[in-house]
């Protein structure tokens, strides 16, 4: 009941390439899940399937609906930003609000106007006259003013400067997230959203290589910083990935007790970006 997305054996192929290959997962209500993967890993395809923008094989249920066949019903309770600057360039801000107000039963124009009044976006401006950052502010204001159960952000801050990105995620947490709503985010800048997430899902070559809650990561994964003979000894414990930092060897372990590792050097929890590289590039 509290599962927002339930995917069972979901696949999607374009010709002979499988963009999404037999993927199964659930996303629970109230979670902020980071969907992380390299370019072409199948993130966007998977999100499109969840949004009902593309058909797929397997069983996919979003908010209890079949996304492809019940897209209209679904869109009352889902918001998404697919990419920045996809708003129609010819429309005026006020027209945009008029339109969303007319077609969206869960949209609060008052809230959108409140949010916009804190920005430089004027109601009479056309989207083409706004900077990229302002377009994103407009889009985010509209989305935030929609009382949706699931928010999907696909590279929402691509091409924006760092100040804006920080603000974006700050606003997302303060204005949007209330524990009832569920958010799925993809981004290349993992380190910026790491503190936000409650769950991470790694996807590579259309397959999910890791699906874990952030709280569970320290229990499962450890990173050992070591060198020389200690490194050789530690390698016998079966690291999933190894890299070199300032002449030291950093070994990433999956499911190896930290007490076994600590004699060989400094042990800590890998950050999401490093863990991602380890899971994708390392031999699992």
């Amino acid at each position: 009941m509290s599962s927002v997305v339930i995917a069972q054996n979901v696949s999607k192929a374009f010709g002979s390439t499988k963009a999404v290959d037999n993927v199964s997962f659930t996303i629970e209500k109230g979670r902020i899940t980071g969907l992380i993967g390299p370019n072409g890993a199948g993130k966007t395809t998977l999100l499109k399937a969840v949004l009902g923008l593309t058909d797929c094989q397997g069983s996919l249920t979003v908010l209890g609906l079949d996304p492809f066949r019940q897209r209209k019903e679904l869109m009352r309770n889902i918001c998404f930003i697919a990419d920045v600057a996809v708003l129609p360039r010819w429309i005026r801000v006020s027209q945009m609000l008029d339109f969303v107000e007319a077609v969206h039963p869960n949209f609060s124009r008052k809230k959108a106007e409140e949010l916009l009044s804190e920005t430089k976006v004027r109601a009479t401006a056309k989207v083409r006259e706004l900077s990229k950052g302002m377009v994103t502010q407009l889009h985010l204001s509209i989305i935030t003013a929609i009382n949706a159960k699931l928010l999907i952000l696909d590279e929402p801050t691509l091409g924006l400067d760092i100040i804006f990105r920080k603000e974006f995620y700050g606003n997302l947490l303060n204005d949007y997230f209330d524990g009832e709503r569920t958010i799925v985010i993809t981004t290349h800048q993992v380190e910026e959203i790491e503190n936000l997430l409650t769950d991470v899902m790694f996807i590579n070559d259309g397959r999910i290589v890791l699906n874990a809650s952030m709280d569970a990561l320290p229990e499962q994964f450890a990173e050992l910083m070591t060198s020389g003979e200690n490194a050789d000894e530690a390698r016998k414990l079966g690291p999933i990935f190894e890299r070199e930092v300032f002449g030291k060897n950093v070994l990433t372990f999956d499911g190896v007790n930290r007490e076994k590792l600590s004699p060989f050097g400094e042990v800590r929890t890998p950050d999401v970006a490093d863990l991602f590289v380890a899971k994708v590039k390392g031999v699992a």
Binding site: D55, M75, C79, F80, V86, P88, W90, I91, D98
Partner: protein, 305 residues
């Protein structure tokens, strides 16, 4: 459903400003023509100056006929402009949103693809004709007003000579029926344009026109028949709405003037029953429906990456 249609059609008018800017400019040009005396009533076979309209030896029927012909000529200009606008509008309607990548935003709203495509069809077949009619009526009123001032300045009684003689309501009713009928009659083309607009990756105009030219040629080469070219030609050259005429020759041989001189209303020249019972209309609407449905499926199933 209906609320969504209103919002969607309004959206179309926001995006495609040319739908009212073009008729507004055309109307403005005609009104300016009247102000500068360029537009005169030329329906009497000879070029007639405004002053002649005041001549008392022309009867009320002839004055009405002359004015009707002038207004019909105005309406004709607007209908030509309307069709050019409709072609470009329908070719652009499902192409622009993909080209500027805003389609994902539109599809993030709780609106089905079918509703969106229907709103574009409605805009092309109903909204554009009604907008056109509104500009025709406004232009005609302004031109008649300007003409009244001309006539008045020459000491004649404009109310009696113009406003009492011109059958405005009859003209407008006939114009409304004709613009709607033309739209419905040419609906299969609109359906085809919508499909091309939803499907093509580039140059919708070329992609829409090429098959219309090439397929009849292929038919002739392969089967030696002319069914397609006849179907296309007969549809663009005639419309079964005028009483006693198959096509537009009503306007060619002064029949309209003759009819108007006898005080016959323009509406009575139209045969709505014949139009509505003509198989060509319904075949065309079915073809339009098939193309439109295909456009809905293309919008729904196409993966924009």
């Amino acid at each position: 459903m209906i609320g969504n249609q209103v919002a969607l059609v309004r959206r179309e008018l926001w995006e495609h400003r040319s739908l009212y800017v073009v008729p507004a400019v055309l109307g403005l040009v005609l009104v300016m023509g009247a102000v500068t005396g360029q537009v005169t009533i030329s329906g009497f076979g000879t070029h007639v100056d405004m002053a002649l309209l005041g001549a008392t030896n022309i009867g009320v029927n002839e004055r009405g006929a002359g004015l009707s012909l002038l207004l019909a000529a105005f309406a004709g200009l607007f209908v030509i402009a309307m069709w050019i606008l409709t072609v470009f509008y329908s070719l652009d309607s499902l192409y622009a949103e993909r080209k500027d990548k805003s389609i994902l935003f539109w599809r993030s709203m709780p609106v089905t693809d079918a509703e969106t495509v229907v709103s574009k069809l409605l805009t092309a077949l109903v909204v554009i004709p009604i907008v056109t009619l509104a500009f025709i009526a406004l232009t005609e009123l302004l031109v008649l007003l300007v003409t009244s001032i001309w006539v008045g300045l020459r000491g004649a009684d404009a109310w009696h000579l113009i406003w009492a003689a011109v059958p405005l309501v009859d003209n407008w009713s006939a114009t409304l029926l004709v613009v709607l009928a033309v739209s419905l009659w040419l609906a299969p083309f609109v359906g085809w344009f919508l499909l091309v607009s939803a499907y093509t990756k580039r140059s919708p105009l070329l992609m829409a026109v090429l098959p219309i030219i090439l397929l009849p040629m292929l038919e002739r080469i392969i089967f030696g028949s002319n069914l397609l070219s006849e179907a296309i030609y007969s549809r663009t050259s005639s419309i079964p709405i005028f009483k006693g005429y198959d096509g537009l020759e009503l306007f060619d041989n002064h029949s309209l003037l003759e009819a108007a001189k006898e005080g016959i209303s323009l509406v009575s020249l139209l045969d709505i029953g014949k139009f509505l019972s003509s198989p060509g209309l319904w075949v065309g609407l079915v073809v339009c429906g098939l193309f439109t449905t295909a456009a809905m499926y293309v919008r729904r199933f196409r993966d924009e990456s």
